[in-house]
Amino acid sequence: MSRQSLTKAHAKISELTWEPTFATPATRFGTDYTFEKAPKKDPLKQIMRSYFPMEEEKDNRVYGAMDGAIRGNMFRQVQQRWLEWQKLFLSIIPFPEISAARAMPMAIDAVPNPEIHNGLAVQMIDEVRHSTIQMNLKKLYMNNYIDPAGFDMTEKAFANNYAGTIGRQFGEGFITGDAITAANVYLTVVAETAFTNTLFVAMPDEAAANGDYLLPTVFHSVQSDESRHISNGYSILLMALADERNRPLLERDLRYAWWNNHCVVDAAIGTFIEYGTKDRRKDRESYAEMWRRWIYDDYYRSYLLPLEKYGLTIPHDLVEEAWNRIVNKGYVHEVARFFATGWPVNYWRIDAMTDTDFEWFEEKYPGWYSKYGRWWEAYNRLAYPGRNKPIAFEDVGYTYPHRCWTCMVPALIHEDMVTEKVDDQWRTYCSETCYWTDAVAFRPEYEGRPTPNMGRLTGFREWETLHHDKDLADIISDLGYVRDDGRTLIPQPHLDLDDPKKMWTLDDVRGIQFQSPNVLLNQMSDAEREAHLAEYRRNGTHAVT
């Protein structure tokens, strides 16, 4: 279609909407934002006539690549260290994608601009595409990778796992509460515009370096749809900015959305990239370097900063603190160690770090070894059953962390942990901002104004409390993380599949009592609690000596 025809077609399609006079469309999802003064422009009108063939062509390329990968036996050269983490990642990501599809009607309800409704509806179909294309990639891994255990139960495991739940809060944040907070600021303005860069651009690099060129094929195809979504988000953001009353809400939501995305996405993708790779070339970028390029420069400096000219206060402090956590506070390294500590309740295997890895980490993050090296050596030493328990239950100088009530990633930077009695329960938070999110942002009133549409943090937010005081073997059985012989665990703290004696079974973990740090915290007297918290903040993550 020529550009001239395209312009005419856009104009024609915009004639399809009309102002109703007989009935008002139902408002199913409320917002505290107001749009009466908003300019009504659609920067990206959609023509289905060009959209469907374009997506079909993209699909054909993806499926052609899949076919080629199988015929060429890509799996002879795939690093298991990498593909094991895909059991977690690919169980999580289809849910945020399909949640994004379901979020679109919320935005359509909330934004009185027929011009933009088309774009949102097309995004809905895109998101269905992303969810199913990712489920299919996982199926292909399950069919062709040496160890299908974990891939074969991913949707169940995603829904009952301590790590899956972190990803789930990400997706549920798109579909509940204030329609603009959820479907526009959290989903589109922050998650899609900022963090898909590391998810769908930086991560594929690492996949390719580990012999997996299917993940890049699928995720670059996904990322090529994101520009449409970013455009949808930006249009609504500009509409919101046109009304002064929205500014406090926008500033609230940018703080919540930025910080929550950082906590969750950087934890997950940082770990996959840094601890899932076997590529230790010194000139390869670290996650911090990728983050600097894709999020700090591309998003913060070129997208977020220019919004200041509209008078919007943007969360510079939180952007800098996210960077500080990644570079100076070891955020990704703490997350990786937490996942490895929790290996018995995973549904994937985690490879130990070797001297080559140590050298690379020390090069990229000076001081890494003194903080984490000894722990990983202990992880390696305790990798096999028989003479020891899983590392979480041995004294290696590591304290099982408190869970953050808000982002659900534990309070891994111990000195930053906030503890408060909120709604009659002692809760722990990884940071001041996560505390603020629960105690201030997600409330029916904000800075003295009613915010009746704002969502609520609900549910059994701490996975550990569900399993408090149970036998570890029973927990693993109940979760279903057992292989088809009925006794060998799906998770293992190593990649050795060739020696049955090295594989942990239910018998090896029976008799170990699992405890929830939060239940214990709530059982303490005031004095005990103060002492415990002081010790936790002072010395929670010291290296084993």
Binding site: A9, K12, I13, E15, L16, W18, P20, F22, A26, R28, F29, M48, R49, D59, R76, Q77, V78, Q79, L83, F95, I98, S99, A101, A103, M104, N118, A121, R129, I133, N136, K139, M142, Y145, I146, P148, M153, T154, K156, F158, A159, N160, T176, G177, A208, A209, N210, G211, D279, N453, M454, R456, T458, G459, F460, R483, D484, D485, T488, D498, P500
Partner: protein, 368 residues
Amino acid sequence: MADISDQKERSFPRIEFTDSEAGALTFPSSKSRAYNYYKPAKLRATMYEDVTVDVQPDPERHLSQGWIYGFADGPGGYPKEWTKAQSSNWHAFLDPNEEWEQSIYRNNSAVVHQVELCLRNAKRARVYDSWSPSWLKFIERNVGAWMHAENGLALHVFTAVQRSGPTNMINTAVAVNAAHKMRFAQDLALFNLDLSEAERPFDGQAHREVWQSAPEWQPTREVVEQLTAVGDWCELLFATNIVFEQLVGSLFRTELVMQVAARNGDYITPTIVGTGEHDYDRDLGYTRALYRMLAQDETFGAANKELFGSWLETWVPRCLGAARALQPIWSQPAEKPVTFATSLANATSKFASLLEDLGLDIPKELDQ
């Protein structure tokens, strides 16, 4: 000749043969090559099931910590209370069309190519030159008005419903329905644009006035707007795909346009409108499966039938009113091979047989 002496050493990750392909070793679960968290409907899971089932978990399907975020006034996610209909197992519904990524794009692309080819050929053969002024007027006004209905249903009915249904299988089927409607509405609009540029007496803007003010179309617009105002997602889907589409949509598309166009020398319009009919046929397929499941539910079937009966009481008179108001347009084409009475009788008869198929009572209004 290029100087290659100063080229830097290039940095590549080393390829390593890891022997990580399926079957390289035998160990517990080494042959577990199927998703095991759900039971497929048949012996082997279909691609559709593998990429759709359980992607949207809920507290009844694996979700151990419950909803993590909620609305201010209630639980999060996909509360069952968003409809009065009840089911013993909403997850039992599977889309008989098995819509997933590739099927969505393949099917819709095929339609796009078909429509584009048809319109290109029409231009090349100058077929519009031979259309009578009365037929052009018919297209200008009535096909023009109809595209508004399709677009409104796409954006404010089906798109809305796909947020609210309680399972991924229901919501994905409805999302595809929305995509069909959007594409079809736009195809009609672009056809309108072609006719505007064909140097024939055709007013490409007339459709707006007709949809907004022409008396014969106002009851239809009223029902479409009433549909967009329904909060209960299951009622909305029922009222649209079971009642409105049968009594108004199919009446207009199948029983009028598809019957009269060729007699008026037009083979283009039926090609385009036929794609809408084909879409509806698929969309009715999943809709029928859903409401049959609800009507036959062992625990809630009787209550659901009663509920559907009440929805019929609301929507059948409205839709019949809209259908009857359209009667004058049957006399607008020069060639009139069908009468309104025949068309309406055909539509109501198909509607009655659909209701019979769902086990529902036939509303008394259909006998009048």
